[in-house]
């Protein structure tokens, strides 16, 4: 799939994400849209997982540490055929396993997440298991930048470097906003690149909406003996003009008219891409 084709898919996935959130009456809109391109690249270009291979012990592992962006993840999984798109309509509904954070009841989910600061330690265990078994699978996690205030991430940061886990990649969805406002105001964590380098990680900084850059960063061989941290600079609410860089859309649910407007913008983006591709 070309970059353009993936971008086109992303407009569809953004629509699915927004519709799922509206259907659920709850959700994490801004962060879902900020990490959607990353998920799109992971599941369509990087991870060797599919509904058919998901039970294979040699599959790559992906653990979404920022579990609240579950609607975007479920949209991508539905698109990859893990379950029907219609299932997205059951998110947060009574007796649906599609609760507001990932659970292993849903095909394609490795671990139950949602409390922050859990994904990276879990992935270290997974990466260590791969090393012990001389297995070639890679382990990926996606962290929010606000999530980095959880101390467990830094315990894990030490351990991953200590054990030279070059089969581990942590991607930071660096959208610079969290529920209360700018991350720099809530709890400043910059410079992120220097911090992770100081912890012994190989660090790459990319535009988290640039398909070529994301693909290159995620597919390049790891620096031998070092875990990789990809700081993906993203825009919270990406793809919907009135949601971009607005903290209230962290878990804002669009009204009927806002959804209509958002879908119209995404339709327009879709048409533009289709025109460019002709």
């Amino acid at each position: 799939m070309t970059d353009r084709e993936l971008q086109l898919k992303a407009t569809h996935l953004r629509k699915l994400t927004l519709e799922a959130i509206v259907g659920a009456g709850a959700g994490h809109t801004g962060g879902g849209l900020s990490c959607l391109d990353i998920l799109n690249v992971l599941y369509n270009r990087i991870l060797n997982v599919s509904p058919e291979t998901f039970s294979s012990p040699t599959r790559d592992r992906y653990v979404q540490s920022k579990g609240h962006s579950v609607e975007a993840l479920y949209a991508v999984l539905a698109d990859r055929g893990f379950f029907p798109e219609a299932d997205l309509k059951t998110i947060c509904h009574y007796q649906s396993h599609m609760v507001g954070h990932p659970t292993r009841h849903i095909a394609g989910i490795e671990m139950n997440t949602g409390a922050l600061g859990h994904g990276l330690p879990i992935c270290i265990g997974m990466a260590l298991a791969a090393k012990m078994d001389s297995a070639s699978y890679r382990v990926f996690t996606l962290l929010g930048d606000g999530e980095l205030a959880e101390g467990s991430n830094w315990e894990a940061g030490l351990a991953a470097a200590h054990y030279k886990l070059d089969n581990l990649t942590a991607i930071i969805d660096h959208n610079t906003l969290q529920i209360s406002g700018h991350t720099r105001d809530v709890m400043s964590n910059e410079p992120l690149d220097e911090k992770w380098r100081a912890f012994g990680w190989a660090v790459k900084v990319v535009n988290g909406h640039d398909y070529a850059a994301l693909t290159e960063a995620l597919s390049q061989p790891a620096e031998i003996g070092k875990p990789t941290c990809i700081i993906a600079n993203t825009t919270k609410g990406k793809g919907v003009s009135f949601m971009e860089n607005v903290a209230k859309w962290h878990h804002g649910v669009p009204s009927e008219s806002e959804l209509k407007q958002a879908l119209a913008e995404l339709d327009a983006a879709e048409k533009l891409l289709q025109k460019e591709m002709k």
Binding site: G125, M126, A127, E155
Partner: protein
């Protein structure tokens, strides 16, 4: 730990001193790990206190050291288990079940990975080190988490059996150990089944339902009370979850009074679990929970703390006699 009178009673009952349950755990785990390379121990600078230094020396590739980082320890233990390892996260009970409780709840139990957590030097094993090092809350919090088997072995036999069970378990397991040498309470042919109490002594006057390192004191008290003409039942309730409700109800129905004994705060542990079973089962007998009261624990070693709060042959005998009056 024992007064001269208690030691004499142990001798009279033919009890032989074993070793620390923690030593039994470490030996058993290493034995299993030698034939199963998938067994991995995870320690938080705790291999010495977990008696796993020989394990680390003999099986270095099967031990993961995470440093003093208990949250990371549980997360890593979960990740290893999710990728096919039989992981044992080993850390002092006080830190493991407080600092990393969220990881236990989510990464292990909610994600339903077959990991084992070992709380070492639990209860007031680190007595004189103070409240920071006590775990008197662990049974209460772990009972309130879904999808976790909780085992508190009373002696070396139960310890070994608990580890053999945990090594084969396909669901999360927590095992709580102290570090004092324990009398052997069971014969080797005793049947051990998770969720089933082991009756150490039969009787219908008072039923002692005890768990972990307190069970010996209940057994000694029953011996002492027999000399006063009282026949007491003693149950070693090694499984806190699942709980042997049948044995509890039977004891409540057949005995004149029930005394529970635990190295845990009186809130939320074995005692309140038994009270709930009895009350909901319609059994109303004189009942007393012996444990650590809701106060700043008295300073002292484990033996001092036990004696202070009546977790002793003498203390438990006194409680039983008063309850029957």
């Amino acid at each position: 730990m024992f007064t001269p009178a208690a030691k004499a009673m142990a001798e009279k009952l033919g009890l032989k001193m074993g070793r620390a349950n923690l030593d039994e755990f470490a030996t058993t785990l290493e034995e299993l790990a030698k034939s199963n390379p998938n067994i991995v121990a995870v320690t938080s600078d705790s291999r010495g206190s977990g008696k796993l230094a020989p394990f680390g020396k003999n099986l270095p590739k099967q031990l993961v050291e995470v440093g003093i980082a208990e949250q990371n320890l549980v997360g890593i233990t979960a990740g290893l288990a999710a990728c096919g390892k039989k992981s044992f996260g080993v850390s002092p009970g006080c830190f493991l079940t407080a600092r990393s409780l969220e990881q236990i709840k989510n990464d292990i139990c909610y994600s339903d990975v077959p990991a084992v957590l070992i709380g070492i030097s639990s209860g007031v094993s680190y007595g004189a080190l103070g409240t920071t090092h006590h775990s008197l809350h662990d049974l209460a919090v772990l009972r309130a988490i879904n999808n976790l088997t909780v085992i508190v072995p009373a002696d070396n036999f139960e310890s070994r059996q608990a580890i053999l069970f945990a090594a084969k378990a396909t669901k999360p397991v927590f095992v709580r150990f102290g570090k004092a040498a324990m009398f052997n309470l069971h014969k080797p042919e005793t049947k051990f089944e998770v969720g089933k109490a082991i009756q150490l002594r039969d009787g219908n006057d008072v039923a002692f339902i005890a768990t972990g390192e307190t069970a010996i004191h209940a057994l000694l008290a029953a011996g002492q009370l027999a000399e006063r003409g009282l026949n007491c039942r003693v149950l070693s309730m090694h499984s806190i979850k699942p709980l042997d409700t049948e044995a509890i109800l039977k004891a409540g129905r057949e005995c004149r009074a029930v005394v529970t004994v635990e190295e845990h705060m009186v809130h939320g542990g074995l005692g309140e679990a038994c009270a709930s079973v009895l009350l909901q089962g319609g059994v109303g007998k004189p009942f007393r929970i012996v444990g650590i009261p809701d106060e700043e624990t008295v300073p002292g070693a484990q033996a001092d703390i036990f004696r202070h709060y009546g977790i002793s042959m003498e203390g438990l005998s006194e409680v039983a006699v008063k309850l029957l009056k």
